[in-house]
Symmetry: C2
Subunit: 323 residues, 2 copies
């Protein structure tokens, strides 16, 4: 797939969470020269379960790029089986986090290699090689960062418990990124940001997917003098998937495309929102951010490539206007 | 299944390793009142792989008793899938030990529960309940014992590496049961032995399945004044499965049914050998052991029940003659 006949060679760094991030990255990977795309992935969702080191966002990104993702759920593997889970259920083990059999293999190897001293970025690199992924996928950090959801009733829930076990039911009051002070950007992150022509903030959850990445020391600064385009994860006040809109409400912010733009205001050059939210463009413009309206619902590979082309064309327009 | 119309209520403790042990235990479980059968299982083969706590012999025994074993391999689960393994292979993880998807669930729950402080005997008890196993299956010990195979070329190989990774190729010179000095019999083992009418030594490997059990402090003594019957794991100088015969040769002992009887001589009352080995009965008799010749190849459930009935009838005969 190309945009008007050739692969783009714009150097892009995409900041991404899981499902929404994977869709955008899938589009970008289709239309960019693979050497030009680096994906920096949130690891705040990572957790240990059954002793396994699980990286939900990295896995979703990699499975999607490798073409082995379950496209109907957005997470996990295609042609998946659930026989280990079946045994776990029979034995009354914990079943709140669904571990597919193919997916389990990923966690088993990652856990083993981490114990052997390999860094998460090295492991991710090796996995990408094995899966034939040619773009660069980097964890935001090799150090452990854990997103904790602080709830209104005073609990501090590890993200996956909030997200999967409690199905995002508890009302949130704030977020803690445990370990963030010690976290350095993974090898390759800062150099990719430095040489980037364009930073894309994927349509991921601002609070728990993008903020952890931006909170890693040096990353916010590295994007501050770059052209940064975000794609809205919210359409008509609702998220396509996940709790972002619910979180905005619980934090007493009306959930909307523009609320996300405002969240990123300090460094945002351009903002891609759904054409049905066109009324918000005026507000976004007032904040000094250039809006771009289009269809941002991208369920299919074709939709994703189309949106990626539009975002890159939008970037070229922004660059011309800033020259 | 019964022997001549009713369930036996002889109190039996069976000492067992993996595949051969499971077959014999399967027969005994068919014909004994479940309250009358306790299986004490070797744990010297246990090991950690991919961070999972794996108990090959306990699993083989339990899968067989639960009717969920792969009857063609003798180990692992029926209707098994290998999708986790497929991922591990793609990612260049270690593949020498085959982890089926259903089987993986067992290891994941056991590992988790051990980390939570549950003992192996408690875990095994809970697994048996979940699988509807009514006979009592006990690990020989809750303490960790590791069988190390010392090879002629001076290596000390953990058992599963010798057995699976190196396919029993290295020549053995001796065996070490690491941790055996600290190992106490698991709860229930000594009391079961005490009330036992009959101790059955299953057709398992004497060196690496039965000797570890007998080496746990107190067990050898507990069987010393009991009627003990062993079933030969060797027919016509060869083992049905596994390296027992090869080990005898490498230890400069001619592999034979009688060689196994001699190995157990100090406490053996009766010995069940294959009828094709009838010539060895005279020698066995000379050692003060009563031989019993029959067909000891027991691939099917019916064969196993038949042999179990014969062994119990043999016991009744021994008991009558000892009164």
């Amino acid at each position: 797939m190309t945009c008007s006949g050739e692969k783009h060679s714009i150097n892009v760094v995409a900041l991404a969470g899981g499902v929404g991030g994977a869709k955008m990255v899938d589009g970008l990977a289709q239309v960019l020269d693979p050497d030009c795309l680096t994906v920096v992935v949130n690891t705040g969702d990572d957790f240990e379960h059954f002793g396994l080191y699980i990286c939900p966002d990295i896995d979703t990104i990699c499975y999607t790029l490798a073409g082995i993702a379950n496209v109907s759920t957005g997470w996990g593997r295609s042609s998946e089986t659930w026989n280990a889970m079946d045994t776990i259920k029979t034995l009354s083990g914990e079943t709140w986090f669904k571990l597919g059999d193919r997916d389990l293999g990923t966690h088993l190897v990652r856990t083993e290699w981490r114990k052997a001293g390999k860094s998460l970025s090295q492991i991710t690199h090796d996995f990408c090689n094995a899966w034939g992924i040619r773009v660069s996928v980097l964890p935001m950090s090799d150090e452990v960062v854990r997103t904790i959801v602080v709830t209104r009733d005073g609990r501090a829930l590890p993200f996956q418990e909030y997200f999967v076990k409690y199905q995002c039911q508890p009302e949130v009051s704030s977020f803690i990124f445990e370990g963030i002070e010690q976290a350095r950007p993974a090898p390759g992150v800062l150099s990719a940001l430095e040489k980037a022509d364009l930073i894309i903030i994927c349509p991921s959850n601002p609070w728990v997917s993008i903020d952890p990445i931006l909170s890693v020391s040096g990353i916010r600064q590295a994007i501050s003098n770059k052209i940064v385009i975000a794609i809205s994860p919210i359409i008509q006040g609702r998220t396509v998937k996940g709790p972002a809109a619910k979180m905005f409400s619980e934090l007493d912010i009306q959930p909307s495309a523009s609320a996300v733009a405002l969240h990123y205001k300090e460094f945002l050059s351009g903002y891609v929102l759904d054409k049905t939210d066109y009324k918000e463009s005026r507000l976004i413009t007032q904040w000094g951010i250039i809006p771009y309206e289009t269809n941002i619902l991208i369920p299919t590979a074709e939709d994703r490539a189309r949106l990626a082309c539009e975002v890159l064309a939008f970037y070229l327009k922004l660059r011309r206007s800033s020259l």
